[in-house]
């Protein structure tokens, strides 16, 4: 392999379409050699890996197992050459892949991470697969066949224009795999690729990995906690100890025979070992009159849902918001002391239904009724003005917290306290429960979960498994009558599984009704009732497509220019008459832009969109006009002139902003304006995720509400809450950034100062016409200045 060629990924472009034999020889697996590797992240006194050695032969398939924190993921990142991508620390030793440093050939080491979707870069699946090809400067013309072949290879059959957000968990992992395979790697690294998937999906992903690595002859290293299924398809099992050294290494069967029971005791899911039993946790009971669990007799209905339909709204920059039906007409009775498992494929509405059951979201139609003793008014039933019992989504934060507990799937979102102990005691304090008893129960639950020593620690610094245990414990310490847990056992090792199930069952034994969404057969097996959900059929696309307004046919760069064409106006407009004239021109141009000639359905909401965007400008105009009046000689004409000038500045934007597509803007900025590629791509990738910030904000606020600490009234508490939640949002955003950096660098982005683009950014007639419109605005300004009185 010549090392002088800087971008070998691009060179092998033609091999993908040729015969299998030739391909196998061109890109068979490479040897991996790790020698004397030491890695100490800053902030750890002891290295995670110290003097670590490992050799993997070309085409060998290796499964890495070991307890949490033993350095398995670290090892994969080191082999990919990405240890310093999202972390800082002291690194020594050497890693080579096929005799070269791992990142010498971008894409030669493919990496797939645990969280489906964490590495998504683009707004369509085709573009996402092409990302690595762009980074190695593959010519645009060579990309489509390669993208299509790779998508077919991983079994993704939907249109290449589909958004990655619409994929299920298993499909997302296939997409991640395709992104790596498109670069024709020689080594494939999988970091718990099936941990977040249900058993069936996990099996299908495993068999895909098996097929692909065999066909391509790839070297494979997999990290997993659940060894079942993987053991059969690897040649070698390497077991790491808690201290990051290799404790066993050999053929899977013999290693398991020798070390299986020890691995199981350390939390690994070893095939052939019985399912773990939930921890037995006994808590000092609350006195009998508390309104939570126990106030409804065991077996009686805590919550009755009737004909519940939930709708889901998604917003995206530069596109209309969409409403989809997530749950349609569900009936469910949840009984005290019983567990209901909500099951079904991802996208079937389990989480949405749970939100409606717990009063976290308002159902679009149908009713959710709690047993009367649980409602805020008690048995008498507080009736609202219309004489009905208030639905739970309208209850105050503390009223809701008393009755409902919710454990979100991302346990990092559930952190509300500064210390572990603080976090556990948050809800009992908010509800004014007996402090002494609360403390005692907190001691008991922390001890049972092995968190006693961490009482003073910052919950955000806990490991994933510890955070999960804490989230469940904090949710149920005050014995709510209804406990909702969203995928509580996903990705957990045997120990965390036993702990989480233990707390949930302790809460059930106190008389709570449990609703658990899960893919986990172990958890389903322990439920009293199972409700299987299926995704409501998507609403059929309209027979005739909408006509597109003229402005929607213009590229983002030209739209941007129109929005900025107003900048000379303040220097030109001197009077209200001039302002009014230019405003008239702008409105006329705007209305022309909204016209939608052609055939098809009439587009709806064009004018409403413009008005919505203009509404906030109203107050700004008033403010400027007022200050101009006050400081400009108290003259109404001066005030009107200032107000109109400001309006002239913002009106064109209101017409064009809704039609700016961030991804196409990135394409044009890089290809037309030749802005530096890497910052443009990073910015575009971040812009794709605006809506995930929406979702995270929503989740953080819901958590606060259900924990009884949502600021329902008052300006100061609300500001304080906004600051706290913004902090949580930023932490979440930066976590996403770190994961994405890893995924992007694994696909050759680190050195992609020059890159090609899968999609061109042509300049069209519509763009030129839009520029002319912008010019007309400027000319109108000059004309007004010289032909109208000042």
């Amino acid at each position: 392999m010549p090392t002088t060629e800087p971008r070998p990924g691009a060179r092998s472009a033609t091999t993908s379409t040729q015969g299998g034999a030739e391909r196998a020889s061109a890109q068979a697996g490479a040897a991996v050699r790790v020698a004397d590797l030491t890695w100490r992240p800053y902030g750890r006194s002891r290295p995670v890996l110290a003097g670590f050695d490992l050799t993997v032969e070309p085409g060998e398939r290796v499964l890495l197992a070991g307890p949490s924190g033993s350095g398995k993921s670290t090892l994969l990142r080191a082999i990919a050459g990405l240890l310093l991508t999202a972390d800082s620390g002291d690194l020594a030793g050497s890693v080579s892949v096929g005799g070269e440093a791992p990142q010498d050939r971008p894409g030669s080491v493919g990496l797939v991470l645990q969280d489906p979707g964490a590495g998504v870069v683009a707004s369509t699946i085709g573009r996402d697969v092409a990302f690595g090809l762009e980074n190695v400067e593959l010519p645009r013309g060579d990309m489509p066949p390669r993208v299509a072949a790779t998508l077919a290879e991983v079994g993704l059959t939907m249109d290449e224009g589909s958004p990655p957000g619409a994929l299920s968990g298993g499909e997302s992992q296939r997409l991640a795999l395709a992104g790596a395979l498109a670069m024709e790697p020689r080594v494939l690294l999988l970091d718990e690729p099936t941990a977040m998937l249900d058993a069936l999906t996990a099996a299908s992903v495993r068999s895909l990995v098996d097929t692909v690595t065999r066909r391509r002859g790839l070297t494979l290293l997999v990290v997993e906690h659940r060894l079942t299924g993987w053991v059969e398809l690897v040649d070698r099992l390497v077991v790491l100890g808690a201290d990051g050294t290799i404790v066993a290494d050999g053929p899977p069967r013999s290693v398991l025979r020798e070390h299986g029971s020890r691995l199981a005791a350390e939390g690994i899911w070893v095939p052939g070992f019985p399912e773990p039993e939930p921890l037995e946790i006994e808590l000092t009971p609350w006195p009998g009159d508390s309104a939570g669990a126990g106030s409804v007799g065991r077996g009686e209905v805590v919550l009755a849902a009737r004909d519940v339909t939930v709708e889901h709204r998604t917003r995206r920059l530069g596109a209309e918001s969409r409403t989809t039906t997530a749950v349609s007409s569900v009936d469910l009775d949840v009984r005290a002391g019983c567990v209901v498992a909500l099951v079904g494929p991802s996208g079937s509405g389990k989480t949405s239904l749970m939100g409606a059951l717990g009063g976290l979201t308002a159902p679009a139609s149908g009713r959710v009724d709690f047993a009367l003793p649980l409602t805020p008014g008690g048995s008498a039933g507080a009736l609202d003005a219309k004489g009905r019992v208030e639905p739970p989504h309208e209850w105050s934060s503390t009223d809701l917290a008393r009755v409902v507990a919710w454990v979100p799937q991302r346990s990092a979102s559930a952190v509300v306290g500064r210390t572990v102990r603080d976090d556990v005691l948050t809800t009992p304090r908010a509800l004014g429960l007996d402090p002494e008893l609360s403390e005692r129960r907190a001691d008991e639950v922390l001890a049972a979960l092995g968190l006693t020593g961490l009482g003073a620690a910052d919950p955000r610094h806990l490991s994933g498994g510890e955070q999960r245990r804490l989230a469940v414990a904090s949710a149920v310490l005050h014995s709510p009558a209804l406990v909702l847990a969203d995928e509580p056992t996903v990705g957990q090792d045997r120990l965390t599984w036993a702990a989480v199930m233990g707390i949930l069952e302790a809460s059930r034994d106190e008389g709570a009704a449990l609703v658990v969404t899960t893919h986990d057969d172990g958890a389903i097996g322990r439920a009293d009732e199972t409700l299987r959900l299926t995704a409501p059929p998507p609403s059929p696309p309209p027979a005739t497509p909408e006509r597109r307004p003229l402005v929607a046919r213009v590229g983002p760069l030209a739209l941007l220019a129109v929005g900025l064409s107003v900048l000379p106006l303040p220097a030109l407009l001197e009077s209200w008459r001039q302002g009014l004239a230019v405003l008239g021109v702008e409105l006329l141009l705007g209305v022309i832009g909204l016209l939608a000639p052609g055939s098809g359905r009439r587009p709806v909401g064009r004018v409403r969109g413009v008005l919505t965007r203009l509404a906030p400008a109203g107050l700004a105009v008033v403010g400027v006009a007022w200050s101009a009046w006050l400081l400009g000689g108290r003259d109404l004409e001066v005030a009107a002139g200032a107000g109109l000038r400001v309006l002239c500045l913002v009106v064109p934007s209101a017409f064009v902003v809704g039609y700016l597509d961030p991804e196409r803007l990135g394409d044009q900025l890089a290809q037309r304006l030749r802005l530096p590629a890497r910052p443009v791509v990073a910015a575009t990738a971040a812009l794709q995720r605006v809506q995930s910030f929406d979702a995270l904000w929503d989740e953080l606020m819901k958590t606060r509400r259900v924990r009884g600490i949502r600021a329902d009234r008052g300006v100061v508490p609300r500001i304080r809450e906004a600051v706290v939640v913004t902090g949580g949002l930023l932490v979440g955003a930066l976590g996403q950034a770190a994961n994405l950096a890893l995924a992007m660098d694994a696909r050759g982005f680190a050195e992609a100062r020059r890159r090609t683009w899968a999609r061109d950014a042509p300049w069209r007639l519509a763009d030129t016409l839009a520029l002319v419109a912008g010019l007309v605005i400027v000319i109108a300004g000059f004309a007004a200045r010289f032909f109208l009185p000042a």
């Binding site: 965007r613 107050l619 400081l631 064009v656 902003v657 990073a682 910015a683 812009l687 992007m744």
Partner: protein, 211 residues
């Protein structure tokens, strides 16, 4: 490790050559920008009324509520510590708030650019070697002052020069003081949450609490 023990915490430099941005530098700036853009959009919705109230008697006082607009750029610079961080973060925050829809439309981009440039100049004047109060005060003031000059032109043409100057100084000073304090607090908060492990501020926190 050697650097963090021998150098003042606010003087740890970014790794590698300063202008050589790592992917995580770019993405962190970008995600900060997007998150702040969303926050700015929300702040833009609520801020107009109090701003109009406090400035009803003396309009230049509205400058006192303007410092939040510059926090994105300052935080970006405090975290990444590379040339361009303030402009990149602030500009992206402006793009996002404009795309969601603010009262200033696309002209927000100009504000984002001049604010980011002002902050950037403050840190450049200290050769990106220190991230303490000197560059914070200077950068904050310049960022506020630049924006004030742009607003003289676009919004407040009718004001007398005296009012304009008062606006500029109030704006610059409030960013230098409040903007800096909030940005430093935010950066420390993010570092102690473990969100800045790959950056100098996080590195400093971690080495201090090494376990």
């Amino acid at each position: 490790m050697t650097t963090s023990n021998s150098v003042r915490p606010d003087e740890i430099r970014a790794s590698g050559p300063l202008p050589r941005w790592r992917t995580i530098d770019l993405l962190t700036c970008a995600f900060l920008g997007v998150a702040f853009g969303v926050a700015y959009w929300a702040w833009g919705l609520v801020y107009e009324t109090p701003s109009n109230v406090i400035s009803a008697g003396f309009p230049p006082l509205s400058a006192l509520l303007n410092w939040p607009w510059l926090v994105a750029g300052i935080v970006g610079m405090l975290v990444i510590r590379r040339p361009g961080a303030a402009v990149f973060t602030e500009l992206l925050a402006a793009v996002v708030s404009a795309l969601i829809g603010t009262q200033w439309g696309i002209t927000t981009l100009v504000s984002g650019l001049v604010q980011g440039l002002g902050v950037e100049l403050g840190f450049a004047a200290f050769a990106y070697a220190t991230f303490r109060w000197g560059p914070l005060l200077l950068g904050g003031f310049l960022g506020g002052a630049f924006e004030a000059v742009y607003e003289w032109y676009s919004w407040y043409q009718e004001w007398d020069l005296g009012y304009k100057v008062a606006y500029l100084f109030l704006f610059g000073a409030s960013v230098a003081v409040f903007g800096s304090i909030v940005s430093v607090a935010l950066t420390r908060g993010l570092a102690s949450a473990g969100a800045l492990n790959a950056f100098p501020p996080g590195q400093e926190v971690r080495e201090r609490h090494a376990v």
